[in-house]
Symmetry: C2
């Protein structure tokens, strides 16, 4: 979708919401909103769509209910502001929105909100009500991470390439809804956990030798990066290959990229990429590439994370993931991406990744 | 300095180090290294240079001292590897170096090192011995942060502009030693704490209206970003204006940019920018711009940080900083950059920054 189309859709949805409330008033009903329940108990793994989703359960937020009225007001406050942001072509951060809309309510000594937990919850609610990601309401995510590769993008009237940028890439902004893909020459998107590994692959000119767009979210990717890769993958149809540390955190990052997160279960379908594949690191790599001397001990936090992973439905859904977790538990070690440097600096770009890509040696 | 020159200098220094050790052996002396002491007790604020520095005190690391020999070996291991990295035109991350050089010592069951605290300490030692930043030894910092503005850079054979990149900028890589400035059109460098504020200023096209290069290190800037701005400021002679939250962390970030940090006191002169100025946020902004309703309570952590700040020599050196800390302590509040959105989204770009720049309303 182009920027104009997403803006148009968002405005339509916001107008529809306003219209419904006006209709209720016309019918002399108390205005109320139907809000899909985002509570953890309402989150489930949808095996058909292969995403972490919410069930259909909804709650009602009513203007004339004393315990609802504050949140009701806040919801409309954000809806109204979003309309304004879209019309003015501005995008705000969450924290910026919090400050932008914080003010004393007329005739009272009370604020619209007192901390940004309140505004954040309402932004999530509005996403769930309208079924569009917050970025389409012009509320942006944290800008972090970058892309390097042979792709030409267009945003805000600028057309630019993501290669030929020295050793850095294009810094992925917090809102990518209006990014258009003009042209690209790549066979895959490589979603890399560590920025240092991306740096290695940039230096080895792996974008060329692996025909890959090199993206990193610098650890757990923020929403902006996930939305960006989701858009890339949808519009180019390129496979998404996830390259993370062989540890409970790496697998968790992969699970978030592939199936989404519990925190945004109400809108995961706009972020998650069920067909993403896991290239490494795996527990089997340790034997295959003789990396025994560069494993690291699984500490207490990692062991806890591992147990949590094993308890999730979407982990149990993949016997290959469970197998990796069990091997990790048994060996008591983890293996980082950068441990491959023990073979040689170029090993990852010259041997490890090309071999696995060639043989399609992936986990789901 | 161009890349070739910094490489040449580093190789000369490494060779000199090797030559000294060889000379010692020729003289039948036990090989030993003189290492500037990096211990906290050896750190002081140099009022003349206006940087946090180490005193001249040195310690000796000897090959024939049983408690030195391991570190001695590690120091030479990194020196040797650096030479190789430079000659091969490769740059490694700290963690990558750790793995790259971890191996069993011949004829023993012991590793060159067992965790990266060991390799990190030795990298710092080598910086201190050779008096060049690790990036010139081709050991790079974390890549984080970005720049947006009217400047053309060259790195790794690529020439590129840092404007015309949509809503993102150029992702600053972990090593910027070989970045050349080809051309620029700006009157100042604006060093911004929060990436969301940089996004706001990019959206408002403030690089044009403020004639500024917009740089963010996303919080406490990593070494790569500091080194980048240091290079920019030295080669362009542009003023560096720091724009951070009005809280103990914001002031601390400013102090690190301006005077350096205790952690790398042995090499601060390659990172710190003593002539950097502080534009905001200040405690006085709260009254001047009527921001009382959007201050935040100083929590316990912030109060502790504030007390630490007040105990530092380089804070006491600036009565204006002490004054701000005292006001903050008295009011018990902090004021974030983004709180300016309470006036309007464009206020920061249209009013706040232009007014302060026009009137040169800075703290040191």
């Amino acid at each position: 979708m182009t920027k104009d189309n997403t803006d148009k859709l968002a405005l339509e949805k916001l107008n529809q919401l306003g219209k419904e409330l006006m209709d209720q008033l016309d019918r002399k009903e108390a205005p109320s909103l139907k809000i899909p329940s985002r509570s953890r108990s309402n989150v489930e793994f949808d095996q058909e769509k292969e995403i972490i989703d919410i069930t259909g359960k909804k709650s009602t937020r009513s203007f004339i209910n004393a315990s609802h009225v504050r949140k009701f007001m806040q919801t409309l406050l954000v809806a109204q502001a979003s309309e304004e942001y879209i019309k003015n072509g501005r995008t705000v951060g969450k924290r910026e929105l919090y400050y932008n809309l914080k003010h004393k309510l007329t005739g009272t000594n009370r604020n619209t909100w007192d901390d940004d937990d309140e505004s954040s919850a309402v932004i999530d609610d509005l996403e769930a009500i309208l079924d569009i990601p917050r970025s389409q309401l012009h509320i942006s995510a944290k800008s972090r991470g970058s892309i390097y590769g042979d792709i030409t993008l267009k945003q805000a009237g600028d057309e630019f390439s993501c290669k030929g940028l020295g050793k850095g890439g294009w810094a992925i902004p917090g809102n990518v809804e209006d990014v258009e893909i003009m042209d690209y020459n790549a066979e895959r998107i490589l979603f890399i956990e560590n920025d240092a590994m991306q740096s290695r692959l940039i230096e080895e000119k792996a974008y060329k030798s692996l025909n890959a767009l090199l993206v990193t979210g610098e650890g757990v990717p923020p929403r902006g990066v996930r939305r960006f890769v989701k858009k890339l993958s949808e519009e180019t149809k390129l496979p998404v290959i996830v390259f993370v540390d062989g540890d409970p955190y790496g697998f968790y990052i992969h699970s978030v990229i592939k199936h989404g997160s519990m925190a945004i279960a109400h809108i995961n379908d706009r972020y998650s990429i069920p067909r993403a594949k896991y290239i490494g690191m795996t527990m089997d790599d340790i034997d295959k590439y003789e990396l025994h001397n560069v494993t690291e001990h699984l500490d207490k936090g990692a062991r806890e994370k591992l147990k949590h992973n094993l308890s999730y439905e979407w982990f149990k859904y993949h016997p290959e993931w469970v197998d990796q977790m069990k091997k990790m538990q048994k060996k008591g070690v983890r293996i980082e991406q950068q441990a491959l440097a023990n073979k040689s600096l170029e090993f990852v770009a010259d041997t490890y990744l090309p071999e696995k890509l060639e043989n399609e040696e992936f986990l789901p």
